[in-house]
């Protein structure tokens, strides 16, 4: 297990190093001049040149890259062009809102998706299976922002049960939860659809395995066969899809955040992209990608816990 952990961590480090590199060159490949944006419409050539020098944009790409890496190692991902704040600080400040959304969405998704996927697999071919799979198909087919709009129309405008705003200014957790509910449900529902579909097929695959037949033949009760013996085997693909959708919900948070006027990494990134705020985009991309890789590493470790064969590989 220790060796396995080591392998996971080594992979993590290589990937993060790659991400830093890709993030740097990606941003440099994008046309546009941050100096121009900072100085606005009345920038003169001299002031532009001065600012470029200040930002290090006049140096060679390799120099810039080395400087960037050296700073990144110390946790300095540059300064936001728009606000003059440390880019990383701005990203970190906007993280809690996104994480709250992602985790609550994930909670809804897992709570809805896994049981319904299992139910559909166990009752394969019945009306329950068909019904669950139809709803799930709908869930993956409607754009998430559209679901958000529809939810606002129905729950906020017509019924008035949930606020249209995805965040509240009050500190009270109950109010916060009330505001978070609609975005979390919308996000959770669309992710649940993916999870349900995958859970179903993973469970079906496992339920067709010999060892499940053996367990039945040995008189082990069906519930125990499904929820203990089979589910554990199906857990690796289910966890994998949960990991993917977690990353996905961080990336797609832009849309949910836009619809529900929620703060978060998504809206910060959108702001940065539109403003060509290099440093901020870079920091955000780095943070998100690293988050994804971290999630994947955690999942890899978890797979190892679940499936002993992976540890040995």
């Amino acid at each position: 297990m220790l060796g396995y952990l080591g392998r996971c961590l080594a992979h993590l480090m290589v990937t993060v190093a790659g991400i830093v590199t890709v993030a740097f060159f990606l941003m440099r490949a994008i046309p546009g001049d941050p100096a121009q944006y900072m100085l606005g419409d009345y920038a003169t050539q001299e002031s532009l040149a001065a600012l470029r020098a200040q930002l290090g944009l006049d140096r060679s790409l390799v120099e810039q890259y080395l400087l960037f890496v050296a700073r990144a190692v110390q946790g300095d991902l540059g300064t936001s062009v728009a606000t003059g704040q440390a880019a990383l600080t701005e990203i970190i400040d906007s993280l809690p809102a996104s994480l709250a959304l992602a985790f609550s969405g994930l909670f809804v998704a897992v709570a809805l998706g896994v049981p319904s996927g299992i139910a559909a697999a166990v009752r394969q071919g019945t009306w329950l299976d068909v019904a669950i799979m139809l709803v799930a198909l709908g869930g993956i087919s409607f754009p998430v922002f559209w679901l958000g709009l529809a939810a606002i129309l129905l729950f906020s405008h017509k019924l008035g049960i949930f606020p249209a705003l995805g965040s509240s200014s009050d500190a009270g957790w109950l109010t916060s939860l009330h505001h978070l509910a609609l975005p979390a449900l919308v996000l959770g529902f669309s992710v649940a659809a993916y999870i349900a579909r995958l859970t179903r097929s993973a469970m079906l695959e496992v339920l067709n395995q010999d060892y499940v037949r053996v367990a039945r033949a040995m008189g082990i009760p069906d519930r125990r066969v499904v929820y203990r013996l089979a589910l554990r085997n199906a857990l690796v693909p289910i966890l994998a899809v949960i990991g993917v959708t977690f990353a996905w919900s961080l990336g797609n948070a832009i849309l949910i955040e836009a619809v529900f006027s929620r703060p978060g990494v998504g809206s910060t990134m959108l702001k940065a992209i539109l403003a060509r705020d290099y440093q901020l985009v870079q920091a955000g991309v780095l943070a998100l990608a690293t988050g994804v890789v971290l999630t994947n590493t955690l999942l890899d470790i978890l797979y190892g816990v679940i499936d002993p064969r992976l540890r040995a590989a």
């Binding site: 071919g125 053996v214 033949a217 008189g219 082990i220 085997n233 002993p308 064969r309």
Partner: protein
């Protein structure tokens, strides 16, 4: 080998299982009747697709959907398994009648330890605590000659060799000392030296516990060495059945005879020509109306009664022996080659 008539522990009567097909139901197990006595080994021989596995899956209520057992009864100590309520059937499975699957790699759950899997079976039928289940698991592993069972009980299946996996499966099956153990091709995936070890183990366990053993196999040598009685299956039907000695000595079905002749044996002179069984194994969806073996039969080939009429399993001139052939008498009058 004559033995005093032992008590029948498992009796399958007229078992019939069908699967829906595009042109009506396909009969996979066709009116199969078999008996297993206490302390006796019944070998069921047949090629892949002959219905031998499905017969016992049907008996245990393990037919995968959309298959269905449509007729017959399965008496285990007098109780008909097919008519038991599901929870009672479940309680019987594993405790009174157990099955060892063919492929030890896929039949073990890869994410649980061997001990967990044996314990799971124990705890499904008894009120054992976790720790006593583990103790029993270690004892059971010892019984199937797993070396160092105290350590091995916490191993995962992939840490076991092929032979040890098969032993572990056997341990699961015998953990509750069932009255009948069904071993479904238990050695097909194993090398010949390990195969011998596993079969010896099964034979020893049978002797020690007095359980009835069903050995599903396609290997006639295995049958010769281990079986008391023998049933030959083809296309879902029992073609011939009797004591092992008699069937080997005086086969009364052309299929059985062809099987002997088509396989090279170590004990026959090295130059002996093989007589292949022509044609292909039967497709259960396209069986002829008459005898299922008729298209490939060297003996009846093309005769009208073979083509149109389906022979019944009838007693032959040999004691305790029945065959499903219109013309077994002619076979009886031929001299057995070699």
């Amino acid at each position: 080998m004559m033995q005093p008539k032992p008590a029948t522990v498992l009796s399958i009567r007229g078992l019939t299982t069908t699967f829906p097909g595009p042109r009506g139901d396909i009969v996979i197990v066709d009116d199969v009747s078999l008996d297993v006595a206490r302390g006796e080994t019944l070998a069921v021989v047949g090629e892949s697709g002959s219905g031998k596995t499905m017969t016992f899956h049907s008996a245990l209520g393990l037919v995968p959907s959309p298959g269905r057992v449509v007729a017959g009864e399965v008496l285990l100590d007098g109780a008909d398994l097919l008519r038991l309520p599901p929870h009672e059937l479940r309680q019987r499975r594993g405790a009174d009648i157990a099955i060892v699957f063919q492929d030890p790699l896929t039949a073990l759950n890869p994410v649980f330890t061997i001990g967990d899997q044996i314990g799971e079976v124990l705890r499904a039928h008894t009120r054992l605590s976790r720790s006593s289940a583990r103790k029993r698991a270690i004892e059971t592993l010892e019984r199937v000659h797993i070396p160092d069972p105290h350590r091995r009980v916490d191993d995962f299946p992939h840490q076991f060799s092929g032979g040890m996996r098969q032993r572990a499966l056997i341990a699961m099956a015998i953990a509750l000392e069932p009255k009948v153990l069904i071993a479904d091709e238990p050695t097909t995936a194993l090398d010949v030296t390990v195969q011998a070890q596993v079969l010896e183990l099964l034979a020893d366990l049978k002797r020690d516990t007095g359980m009835g053993l069903v050995l599903i196999t396609h290997d006639l040598g295995v049958v010769a060495r281990y079986a008391d009685r023998l049933a030959v299956m083809y296309a879902g039907r029992v073609m011939e059945q009797g004591t092992a000695d008699r069937v080997f000595e005086t086969p009364r079905h052309p299929y059985t005879l062809s099987l002997f002749r088509s396989i090279p044996h170590l004990d026959t002179p090295a130059g002996t020509d093989l007589t292949p069984i022509e044609g292909l194994p039967p497709n259960p969806a396209l069986l002829p109306t008459g005898c299922a073996f008729e298209p490939r039969c060297f003996h009846g080939g093309g005769r009208e009664d073979c083509r149109s009429g389906r022979p019944a399993l009838t007693p032959t001139d040999v004691p305790e022996h029945a065959a499903r052939c219109w013309h077994w008498t002619e076979l009886a009058s031929e001299r057995r080659p070699s």
